[in-house]
Amino acid sequence: MDLLLNPFDHFTIPFGFWAERTLDWFVGHSRGTLLSAKVPVQRFLEFVRDCLEAVPPLAGIAGMSIIGWLLAGWRLALTEFVCLTLIGLSGAWHDAMTTLSIVIVAVSICVVVGLPIGVLAARSDRFFRVLRPMLDLMQTVPSFVYLVPVVMLFGIGDTPGVIVTCFFAITPLIRLTNLGIREVREDLVEAARAFGASETRLLFGTQLPLARPTILAGLNQTVLLSLSMAVVASMISVAGLGRTVLEGIGRLDFGAATVGGLGIVLTAITVDRYVQALGAGRPRSRTGA
């Protein structure tokens, strides 16, 4: 009788066990490969961090502001100047540079991997049908759940931090690249074909430029998600602003947590405005100038 009333006390499917076994098997077989795959990411990360650390703060602020000014005018220059100065004044400069280097590397990988996936998804309905549940899954899974398999496969430290950030942050870029290309007016695509454009030319000359605003919105999400991952990633001993926040929380040191949190927000603004300015390209027609 109890069997009928409470069947799940007696029968369960051992999903957890299976997952563990699968992961064990995967780790056992591919850890070596994965660890060597980690190396280029690590090199890239070290290179970016060394570059950022090599620049003295004042020179960095001046340089970023000037580039901002050249890129999109005084408004961007002022934003960069204020944000970076505040980061420096709050004593978080070095942590910010560490976080920034992780974000730069993670976002670069997301773009290199995510953009082609998004393009493929837009061109093949079948591929998108397979991809969509995976994207849904990746966006539903809480961010720190990624930590377990990543630690088992790649260990702890900054490089696994980059990898886990990529997993977490790549989805919006893929989704919005796909959406942006699909939303390009059908007759504009048809016109390009009708005038003899090859598929490559159609993609780079028509679809991607017209999808750019949507793709940029995806890139913006990816940048912000990477930064928001900083705190979570610090649980696997990733350095930077995230660690300041985590340690602050751990010791109930509200001041330290605030400094770290503020630093993340300011870094987010710095990076995002830059990315948007880079993507917006040259001001267009009479409305642009």
């Binding site: 007016r185 007759d187 504009l188 048809e190 016109a191 390009a192 074909r193 009708a194 005038f195 003899g196 454009a197 090859s198 030319r201 028509t206 430029p209 017209l210 267009r284 027609s285 009479r286």
Partner: protein, 347 residues
């Protein structure tokens, strides 16, 4: 259907079928066996018949209109010519060559060199300047940039938009945008123009203006044109011959005169009933058999109605209609009135 020799055809469609849907081959078999009810076919197979057994040819330099209501398959036929759509069955020949036999590269070359296309909603690329829009087809051919610029400017000049090259499409009015669309189609100096309801998105005055301009241009350039429209007046004005489509089938092909005066199906008859026949009547259609006086003025069988009226109004008693030496008949005032009466009764 027409008496041109086959090699004079710029475009030829032979028994063209296009069925949209997964089970298109089953539908093709069923439709060829005589099933025509499109609702039943959609219900049973989940397929839509876009084009059903269309056969026609367009002579070099001719303006051929395909006319029908929306969903009649006219734009679908048009897109077969440059293979934007591939046929379910049948073949499409451009300059004597089957477009389905072309490789990808050959097809791109055909589209870039030989065929220019104009779209209903202009379809100008908003991120490119007018000059870049017009030069697109040339640049795909990898001719050098300076030459592209020059040809683009030349094409813009033809449509009266020289000097606008550095603007962007959204800075132009609808009429101007479609001139750019026309310039883009003409830039590569193609043999064939495909025009997909090019003027229907414009307001009536601009539409008329562009029709006139297009006719003037094509008189000079003498390009084979396949012109799709849902506007019968436009088809009559622009087309040298017209194909009238209904539910994917071509009901009748003929000159504007034949379509109006001798509709072959009920559908065509209903369609053209709003058009006055008076403009298309000629002496041979009005004349009746009878004696003619020896001093009656002689006119040819193709003399249009206004000329007849003018002559009779000048006090001539009646006219003798002769084709060469053969007497076809006579025309007097009652015949003119009868023709006008018939025309009024049609509507």
């Amino acid at each position: 259907m027409d008496d041109h020799s086959p090699d004079a055809h710029a475009i030829e469609c032979r028994n063209l079928w296009k069925i949209f849907g997964q089970r298109h081959l089953e539908v093709l078999a069923a439709a060829r066996a005589g099933r025509v009810d499109k609702d039943a076919i959609l219900e049973e197979f989940g397929c839509v018949i876009g084009v059903a057994d269309a056969t026609f040819s367009v002579a070099k330099g001719e303006i051929f209109c395909i006319m029908g209501l929306s969903g009649s398959g006219k734009s679908t036929i048009l897109r077969h010519v440059n293979r934007l759509i591939e046929p379910t069955a049948g073949s499409v020949l451009v300059n004597g060559q089957d477009v389905m036999s072309l490789s990808k590269g050959e097809l791109r070359a055909l589209r870039a060199h030989k065929i220019g296309m104009v779209f209903q909603h202009m379809a100008l690329w908003p991120h490119k300047t007018i000059a870049d829009n017009v030069a697109f087809g040339l640049e795909v051919q990898r001719t050098d940039r300076k030459a592209c610029r020059d040809s683009a400017e030349e094409a813009l000049e033809k449509v009266g938009l020289d000097g606008w090259g550095d603007r962007y499409p959204d800075e132009l009015s609808g009429g101007m945008q479609q001139r750019v669309g026309l310039a883009r189609a003409l830039a590569a100096d193609p043999d064939i123009l495909l025009m997909d309801e090019p003027f229907s998105a414009l307001d009536p005055l601009i539409r008329r203006e562009l029709q006139d301009e297009f006719l003037a241009l094509s008189e000079k350039a003498h390009k084979t044109t396949l012109f799709v429209t849902h506007d019968l007046d436009e088809a009559m004005r622009v087309g040298q011959r017209i194909a009238i489509m209904k539910d994917g089938r071509i009901d009748q092909v003929g000159t504007p005169e034949t379509i109006v005066l001798y509709p072959e199906t009920e559908y065509v008859a209903r369609f053209v009933s709003s058009i006055s026949t008076l403009k298309y009547l000629s002496a041979s259609e009005i004349a009746v058999a009878g004696e003619v006086a020896s001093d009656a003025p002689t006119i040819g069988p193709d003399t249009p109605l206004p000329v007849l009226i003018e002559q009779l109004a000048n006090g001539v008693d009646h006219l003798a209609v002769r084709d060469g030496a053969d007497l076809i008949g006579r025309i007097d005032r009652p015949e003119i009135l009868a023709a006008v009466g018939r025309d009024l009764a049609r509507r």
